[in-house]
Amino acid sequence: MRRIATPAGGGRVSTAYYAVFHLLVEDFVSNWPFADQRARLARVFSHQRMRDASFAPRDKKNPTSVEMQVMEVVTAFGQLQGDRHRADYDMGWKLVGTDVANAISLAETTFAKWHAIRGEDVARDHLLSMFGAKR
């Protein structure tokens, strides 16, 4: 019989989410010129607002490769956040090893994707939306 993840697995799911959360937040605040204000600026980020920030490609039927990667980051962020919430608060969730492996894999992939697109206008614009800026 395969091993079913212990509660420690839930901790790893949370860690995977927070790694991506901090990746995005730190990317944003690192561009703020006043270093002594960056920690305060980071605390403005809200988990739910980040997840709810809408994104749509300019041409829905023909998204650019950067837009597709932004959509993948958005989907992965929401998945990791939802899993993290369930891991921490849903006592009925029967977490298995595949959940943990998938969360780690998703976080690693999201890091790679974000590093590839973080300088693109579309990605920076979406990060601003995650911060809470209205269009």
Binding site: M1, I4, G82, V96, T98, N102, T109
Partner: protein, 76 residues
């Protein structure tokens, strides 16, 4: 991939969501999870317009062995 089940409901934040439960072969779950998960997530997004449906998609995976151990009806 062995099978997909789904349900629509509210997620932790009260937003409407579609929860996919995807059962994989043990081999796929253990050795090709990243590849298979990416294909499944991408394939579903190609077939279903989640923003138009007003739902956020969640995808959870488990292996046949894990499901056999847990025997959860929702995954059967």
């Amino acid at each position: 991939m062995v099978r997909i089940r789904y349900e629509i409901g509210e997620d932790w934040s009260g937003q409407w969501a579609i929860f996919f439960r995807i059962v994989l072969t043990d081999e796929a779950a253990k050795r090709r999870l990243r590849e298979i998960a990416t294909k499944v997530v991408w394939g579903l997004a190609q077939q279903l317009d989640f923003p138009a449906m007003g739902v956020f998609p969640y995808h959870n995976f488990r292996s046949v062995s894990e499901q056999e151990a847990l025997q959860e009806p929702a995954w059967a």
